[in-house]
């Protein structure tokens, strides 16, 4: 945990520097505006576009340094802890659930929301939850069906359907 605290503080410090760098970018259409010209007060225009994010990012950077000092002085609970950042159970859960979610996102691009929901529910309820096949199938089917009727039909919010799009055309003809 102690090592994770300082690594995270370092990463967040670098992120703050990146935010400061990006805040100073002038508009692409005006090459005469130099980097960091927009972080102060501009005559008759008030604060520039980078004013707000630049100074906030600087405060973020200072906070990262402050967190680093607290780590060195062992002031914060994580900097005093010798426990592992993720134990075996947490690592396993993170990989299985996080991996499942990433798979879900990738599947949306291929078989659309409703197909991906079905597969994800089967994976989670049947695979990780080890529930019996019948309730797993019922829930995994009911969720995308209810979602379709609520979002696509009632709310007219069309969710991506990927390669399964042709399967939905008769339903549109029927309900819309």
């Amino acid at each position: 945990m102690r090592r994770a605290e300082i690594v995270t503080a370092f990463f967040l410090g670098v992120l703050s520097l990146y935010f400061m760098w990006k805040s100073g970018e002038g508009p692409g259409w005006d090459p005469d505006v130099a980097r960091f010209d927009n972080i102060g007060l501009i005559l008759d225009e008030g604060p520039g576009s980078g004013f707000w994010p630049f100074w906030l990012s600087l405060i973020m950077l200072l906070c990262s340094v402050w967190i680093g000092i607290n780590w060195y002085l062992r002031k914060s609970p994580p900097s005093q802890s010798e426990e592992p950042f993720l134990d075996h159970h947490a690592k396993r859960t993170f990989l299985l659930v996080g991996g499942g979610l990433l798979g879900f996102l990738i599947l949306i691009g291929i078989i659309g929301f409703y197909g991906a929901i079905f597969v994800f529910m089967i994976y989670f309820i049947g695979g990780l939850g080890r529930h019996r096949l019948v309730p797993t199938l019922i829930i995994s089917t009911a969720i995308p069906v209810c979602s379709f009727f609520f979002f696509d039909i009632a709310m007219r919010i069309v969710l991506p359907k990927g390669y399964l799009e042709p399967l939905f055309l008769p339903l549109y003809d029927l309900f819309l």
């Binding site: 935010f19 604060p47 980078g50 950042f85 159970h89 529910m121 080890r130 007219r156 969710l159």
Partner: protein, 507 residues
């Protein structure tokens, strides 16, 4: 006395079967829309606006469609708390603050109490704001107009300061969290100059900005759920709830004990609702902050304190009524939802403004009467459905968790119809999980991304007005005291830190 008679006449019209039916239907629709992550009152009102033309044609008056839309608005304010408490996902931005204490209460097996407190607080907030609306509409509208840019920025600063001064969390991590949320809120086109800003790695998805729901659902939907699963060795981290009569009586008693939060939320929420471009979300977050600021035990906030539920819930209902006031008396909408309502009024041939009360009493008073009726209908429907909401928690965790994940993903997509936001939301969820492990408070970041788009323009316009002189925040009669209190709160931890180091040295 004239007002009382006009109100009684209005309530009688609102109680007519058609109008009452529309109020009940509106509340039910609003309750459902508000509880669905990604959808809020503005979605419900906007989607059903065309339907109101049919209602107007059928009833022949503009009052009935307005009653229907106002009931949706009310119902959504109640509904937002349901998913915040039972699922840990804020149903709408107005219910973000409810998650802070509602969720820990649900995890501790007191979801029924949290839901009862939320419903009753919403009812009291709605009722108090209705009374204030009825009695003081014109003078309050003029007071709200005295709140200029510096005053509104000072209020925002106060909201952030309460987290720093009284949060009880690691100070540098809290400040980092606030600034991180504020920077994320500034991603995309600068609304003042029109310049693109912070388009990270030149990915075009960032050019439309990072919406608050993406961060809020990522933190509370994905991050929170994964945290629960990772930190519990057992399958279920939720405590089961059994609804009994004694439990409900105890919940009512607990609500009564949370009167401070309700009172703060009702009055502060109403007033923030009056402010142009503020609305229910800043109102509920500020009420939470002030309730924490003035509490005897501020450290119990975030761990299931009833005041932490009653304050934001009463505030968002009070603010939703408050936001109607500038819309009706001045023609200035106080929130996105009231902007849609204003559009509806214009379409129905009404002219919102100072003369509305005198020129259209047949429209105004039944509408105000319907606020009272909708409020009663909403609390009754909400209380009646609490067993159904709690039933969701009885589901095995291995079924509930994927349902929450699916709702989080669909909700994010439905709100903006952009897959980039869905990816970003999951990324924020993973990041939130890891940061939470290291004790970074995440609620301030969510607060900041909500208030950032209001705070930044107010600061910049104030500085433009004062030629870059920051004393504008100290010299104005309303902004000055608020700014000073905010600065005291920000400096409080530094003073505490210094005192803690000076005292041992003296010894």
């Amino acid at each position: 006395m004239d007002i009382l008679f006009a109100l009684m006449d209005g309530i009688v019209v609102a109680m007519q079967p058609t109008n009452l039916g529309l109020a009940i239907a509106g509340v039910l629709v609003g309750l459902f829309v508000g509880a669905m992550p990604g959808l809020g009152s503005v979605n419900g009102v906007a989607i059903l606006l065309p339907f109101t033309f049919v209602i107007q044609e059928f009833t022949g008056s503009a009052t009935s469609p307005m009653i229907f839309l106002a009931a949706i608005y009310y119902g959504a304010m109640y509904g937002g708390a349901i998913s915040s408490i039972t699922l840990g996902i804020p149903g709408a931005s107005t219910a973000v603050a409810t998650t802070f204490d509602g969720r820990p209460m649900a995890l501790a097996g007191r979801a029924d109490r949290a839901l009862v407190i939320a419903a009753l607080a919403s009812f009291v907030g709605g009722t108090i704001s209705n009374i204030l609306f009825t009695a003081f509409a014109p003078p309050l509208a003029s007071v709200a107009l005295k709140f200029g840019d510096p005053e509104i920025f000072a209020l925002m600063l106060l909201a952030f300061a309460t987290f720093i001064g009284l949060g009880g969390d690691d100070i540098p991590k809290t400040i980092f969290s606030i600034c991180f949320g504020l920077v994320l809120a500034s991603v995309g086109f600068d609304i003042v100059s029109g310049e693109p800003r912070l388009v990270f790695f030149d990915i075009s998805g960032f050019s439309h900005g990072i919406r608050f729901l993406v961060l809020a659902i990522g933190v509370y939907g994905i991050g929170e759920m994964m945290w629960t699963m990772m930190s519990s060795q057992s399958h279920s981290a939720m405590s089961y709830v059994k609804i009994t009569r004694q439990g409900l009586i105890a919940a009512c008693r607990e609500f009564a004990s949370a009167w401070r939060g309700t009172a703060i939320g009702s009055f502060l929420g109403f007033f923030v609702g009056l402010l142009p471009a503020a609305g229910a979300t800043p109102g509920s977050l500020m009420a939470y902050g002030v309730a924490k600021l003035t509490a005897r035990d501020p450290k119990s906030f975030g761990k299931g304190n009833p005041d932490g539920i009653s304050a934001p819930e009463s505030a968002n209902n009070a603010a939703s009524t408050g936001a109607m006031l500038p819309m009706m008396t001045l023609g200035i909408p106080g929130s996105p939802t009231t902007a849609v309502l204003l559009a509806g009024m214009v379409i129905w041939g009404l002219q919102p403004g100072p003369l509305l009360f005198s020129s259209q009493p047949d429209f105004v008073w039944p509408l105000i009467g319907s606020f009272y009726i909708s409020n009663v209908v909403a609390v009754l429907v909400n209380l009646a459905f609490i067993p159904v909401f709690v039933w969701m928690l009885r589901m095995p965790f291995t079924i509930l968790a994927p349902v929450i994940f699916v709702l989080s993903l669909i909700g994010t997509f439905a709100a903006y119809q952009d897959m980039f936001d869905v990816w970003l939301m999951v990324l924020f969820g993973f990041g939130a999980l890891l940061l939470r492990k290291l004790d970074y408070p995440l609620a301030p970041a969510v607060l900041a991304i909500v208030l950032g788009p209001i705070a930044e323009p107010k600061l910049r316009q104030s500085l433009l007005f004062s030629d870059g002189d920051f004393s504008i925040f100290f010299t104005r009669p309303i902004a000055g005291p608020i700014t000073i209190v905010a600065l005291i709160l920000i400096l409080l931890p530094i003073v505490k830190f210094a005192l803690a180091h000076i005292r041992p040295a003296k010894r």
